[in-house]
């Protein structure tokens, strides 16, 4: 690993100033589970490492009436250990609880997962279907962006060199909604997704019709893929196998995967359809359970 300077700002302003000063030669360090690996194998060699974990705004985890706020430096384990999040945002638990093993989950963050911009990033489809918004700051000001607009290519994001992801905010899901995230890997843990899929659904009171749906898939395109059309196709459709199959077919059609050591094109296409089908079914089950709990 090349030598670098380690900086640990305790205030957001200080971090913003450092990022401005060292734009292009600094990297934020959240859990480091991507960054340190990349620095060791030479894919990244920043001169400055700015530790995100000592900045209060990046460490907030708050669930209030309207929304969930997840600081960019909050670890996956902190998220999945939170019973309230588990109840309201089960797909977040599905995804945060399967990144690496327990050791990795103790360090890895959703912020890092998003900013690392791997096509296979497991938390990203889940936050996309929940409609999460990224809160970004820099010396030039603040902006808010839907998370599906962050990743632009493998390893690339729409964040400028001096920008910091502060937190994600996720609106509280309405009654009769549910979501599920599923991933396929050859082992049962410790693998990068061959394909993954998240589905969010909102049903009518009776649980018979889709009011809304959002679907996203990973490892089947250069970035985590928000398949808007597949969700839209479910709107006002009856909750049955046929509607679900049609949406899953759209997810498959949207996929443009590659052949690599983790999977083949054909297999990934099939997987995205299978996982989307299963995730939709799971989301429906959760939505019905949710409806009952509320009622």
């Amino acid at each position: 690993m090349n030598d670098f300077e380690y900086l640990a700002p305790r205030e957001l302003d200080e971090a913003v100033a450092l990022m401005t000063e060292h734009a292009g030669s600094a990297q934020l360090l959240a859990g480091g589970t991507d960054l340190l690996v990349f620095m060791r194998n030479g894919r990244k060699s920043p001169e400055f490492i700015i530790d995100a974990k000592k900045i209060p705004e990046l460490n907030r985890l708050r669930l209030d009436a309207g929304q969930l706020t997840i600081g960019a430096a909050v670890s996956c384990r902190t998220i999945w250990e939170n019973p309230e999040i588990a109840e309201k945002f089960p797909a977040l638990i599905d995804s945060t609880a399967l990144i690496g093993g327990i050791q990795i989950q103790g360090r890895a963050t959703i912020g890092g997962n998003l900013c690392n911009a791997a096509p296979s990033a497991d938390t990203v489809p889940a936050i996309i279907v929940y409609g999460a918004v990224a809160h970004i700051v820099s010396g030039k000001g603040q902006r808010e962006v839907p998370v599906e607009e962050i990743c632009t290519a493998p390893g690339r994001t729409s964040l400028a060199d001096d920008e910091i992801l502060v937190c994600l905010s996720i609106p509280m899901p309405p009654a009769n909604s549910g979501a599920e995230f599923l991933r396929f890997i050859p082992r049962r843990e410790m693998d990068i997704a061959v394909a993954n899929s998240a589905a969010y659904v909102e049903l009518d009171e009776a649980g018979e019709t889709f009011k809304n749906a959002r679907i996203a898939a990973g490892a089947v395109a250069p970035t985590p893929l928000f398949v808007e059309a597949a969700g839209a196709a479910l709107k006002n459709k009856p909750v049955n196998d046929e509607s679900i199959a049609a949406a899953a077919a759209l997810a498959r059609a949207a996929a443009t995967p590659i052949n690599d050591m983790r999977g083949t094109i054909e297999h990934r296409k099939q997987l995205v359809e299978v996982l989307t089908t299963r995730a939709l079914r799971g989301a429906v089950t959760r939505a019905k359970r949710e409806g009952r709990n509320n009622g």
Binding site: D3, F4, E5, G31, V37, Q103, I104, M190
Partner: protein, 159 residues
């Protein structure tokens, strides 16, 4: 060589300080600076768990953390698992149930299992397997290793 930082941390209950370069991982410092070589390196990229340690109560891979990040932290390593010459029930169970063959993965498994039992004193087999999935063992096929952890849980429950 880069500038060295002076870090103060509590290691196995003892206040320690050391000098390190920013690029040195916690694993490297434990092993090569403090000579606490019980924490092992199997991959140096988070995939084997041989370097498992507990930092401020959280189970981590020491290779995936910079040593400079540990300023003020409390770090538990395998060297601190036995207290005053008394083996931890996990250590006894690994010996009695032959939960190891070559033993290179053993410190990592013991630290992971300790973190599990601290959180969940009576895990079932599936919970043990799930918690230990970040630790690789190539020798045992896991059977006796998992049994060792369950036996230690039983011992702790009886105590």
């Amino acid at each position: 060589m880069g500038n060295k930082s002076h870090i103060t941390a509590t290691i196995n209950g003892e206040a320690r300080d050391f000098l390190c370069e920013p690029r040195q991982s916690l694993l490297e410092v434990l092993r090569d600076v403090l000579y606490l070589t019980g924490t092992k390196e199997g991959c140096n990229d988070g995939n084997c768990g041989a370097c498992s340690v507990i930092v401020d109560g959280v189970l981590l891979d020491a290779c995936c953390m910079l040593a400079v990040e540990t300023e003020g932290s409390s770090i538990e390593t395998i060297e601190g698992l036995a207290k005053e010459g008394e083996l931890h029930p996990l250590q006894s169970a690994f010996l009695e149930e032959t939960g190891m063959q070559c033993g290179i993965c053993t410190p990592g498994f013991l630290m992971s299992a300790k973190a599990l039992l601290d959180k969940n004193p009576s895990p079932n087999e599936q919970q043990v397997r799930h918690w230990l999935a970040g630790n690789l063992c190539r020798c045992t096929g896991y059977d006796k290793l998992v049994r060792s952890v369950m036996k230690a849980a039983d011992t702790l429950a009886e105590a």
